[in-house]
Amino acid sequence: MAVSELAHGTKAGVSARNGNVDAARLSIFALVAALALLPLLAGGFLLYSLSLCFANALAVLSVSMLVRYGGEVSIGHSFFVALGAYAVAIVEHRLGLSIAVSLPLAVLLGAIAGFVFAFPSRRLSGIYLAVATMALALALPEILIGFEKFTGGFEGLYIAQDLIPGISKALQRYYVALVLLVVVCLALSHFRKSAQGLALLMAQAQPRAAEAMGITRSWARVSIFTLSAALASLAGAMTGFASSTVSPNSFTFFSGVFLLVGSVVSLNRLSLPAALVGGAFITLVPTYLAKAGDWVPILYGVALIVVTLAANAGDLRRFLPRRRGR
């Protein structure tokens, strides 16, 4: 009978899944251990690049989170990243305080900005939000240069204060960014199981059904964007800390698009390895291809198209024959 078959299937399926989960967990644990021990072997530029990778990985996670839980694209997350980075810099310049204070502040500011930004289009389709994020990305350089008194204009600001006194700058940047990245990944995996996480996934896949369970569309849209912007701002604070400087050069219109590229390349996954792949892609490609500058957008564009088409290829096989007889 069907039910008994199911029961067998269940046992086999669940135990197989458990096995996979254990293997995945072990390999992630090994990855973290390797990264934690790396500074014993390497130093200098590699550590610096990796710290930036970690910070960018956080930013990529913020975009992936929006795609996964909200079904929305943003090309303006550079705005929230910049908000976090400048919050750290300005707090240090004006108040002389380290990121111990400015990091939570950056997260709070990111959440507020995200809420204000997402609220107007809460009832509309995600397309409108995507268009609005384009304006956000284009407005950012203007704001950074226009409010010179706070932001330091074209020159930007330096971030010099340490978080933990007595440890070398390079090690601090590296370990703070790594620890934060691991903690965020753990928090995200917990979020996947939380009531809010489930509700958001349902609201995205079945908006009508979700509505009938008390999950309104506007709640879902505003919450996920607020969370994602808060995470982007946290990533920005880390970017500022890891690079010791903030300037409009690092926040052009294209930085927001590049974050989306990182997210797409990591298949919008929210795991640590995926985040590292996305972060590394957008950090290391421009660094190592600096001489071939104009090829970077082309490479990114091709990556966006290829990954998007490939990611939907599985569905194509299922959808196309039914849709068209030919």
Binding site: E72, V73, A139, E142, G293, G301, L304
Partner: protein, 298 residues
């Protein structure tokens, strides 16, 4: 500020706002046509227009060839249309499946075009003028130039042409039907793909025309045209994003509003101003400012 001074300022501001607004409207029409037929926001719109403008520059200035302006434009139109066909072909397999994935793919196309322009033409800033005789005359407080007249003439011709195609031709009927209900159309035997292709080609042509007309007022570089498209996007949002008359009128409203803002408040925060316009419109007029007046019809 004196009343007389205000009146002296306001008329020229309105006039130049209308002129640049026409171009924002033309840019927005391309976006809206693509969106109405295929539900995709085409983020490569500005990059394609930029490529087209650079092709005109390259082929008419002698940097690649020195053809006449007219034949350079013809070549650019050909290239823009070819690129539009290729980019639609890339998106075609997923266009019915996911708005999100298709929109991301258009960003990819935009990045490739952007990189291509930088690779071929460099990061230089160049001038590209319209080959119209220069003259101007005063009309009350307003100074009208030959450029203004050219923009008005082209805009009117384009809007009229588009109207004729959409109202009078078979393709236009199919376009209207598809934008109302794609699935019913497929059942009725209308070919969705050809309607999509029509709107993507029209979008490319409209984008190129808008770019060629806007460039003389500033300069041409690999970033000016794509960021000019923010005005077109704003115009489309103000018009409701799926209404062609809305896009045209939205363009003019945005043109006027930007002129007033830059004159009376600050010329340095134009994009921030547009961001504000977009957010306020989405909040208070989610279906566009003209929802009542026009009713969102074609």
């Amino acid at each position: 500020m004196s009343v007389a001074g205000f009146i002296r300022d306001i008329l020229p501001l309105l006039w130049s706002g209308i002129i640049s607004g026409c171009l924002y409207g033309v840019g927005a029409l391309g976006l809206v046509m693509v969106f109405k037929s295929s539900r995709v926001v085409n983020f490569s719109h500005g990059n394609l227009a930029c490529l087209g403008a650079f092709v005109v520059y390259g082929f008419s200035s002698g940097s690649l060839l020195s053809l006449s302006w007219g034949s350079a434009v013809a070549l650019a139109l050909g290239i823009a249309c070819a690129v539009a066909v290729v980019s639609y072909a890339l998106i075609a397999p997923i266009v019915f499946k996911s708005d999100l994935a298709s929109t991301i793919a258009t960003l990819g196309v935009g990045l490739v075009l952007q990189g291509g322009v930088q690779l071929v033409f460099g990061a230089d800033i160049v001038n590209l003028d319209l080959p119209v005789p220069r003259f101007s005359f005063s009309l009350g407080a307003v100074r009208v130039s030959s450029y203004d007249l050219a923009v008005l003439a082209v805009t009117i011709a384009i809007v009229a042409g588009l109207f004729v195609i959409i109202e009078r031709t078979k393709l236009g009927v199919a376009f209207r039907a598809v934008s109302t209900n794609p699935f019913a159309c497929e059942v009725c035997g209308l070919n969705l793909r050809s309607v999509h292709l029509f709107s993507w080609l029209a979008g490319a042509v409209l984008g190129l025309v808008a770019a060629l007309l806007i460039v003389p007022t500033t300069f041409l570089s690999s970033t000016t045209v794509p960021s000019f498209m923010l005005q077109a996007f704003t115009a489309a949002v103000v018009g409701g994003f799926s209404s062609l008359p809305g896009a045209a009128v939205g363009g003019i409203l945005v043109g006027i509003a930007m002129n007033l803002f830059s004159f009376y408040v600050s010329p340095e925060f134009m994009n921030t101003f547009l961001l504000g316009v977009i957010l306020l419109t989405l909040n208070f007029f989610p279906n566009g400012l003209l929802e009542r007046a026009i009713g969102g019809r074609v």
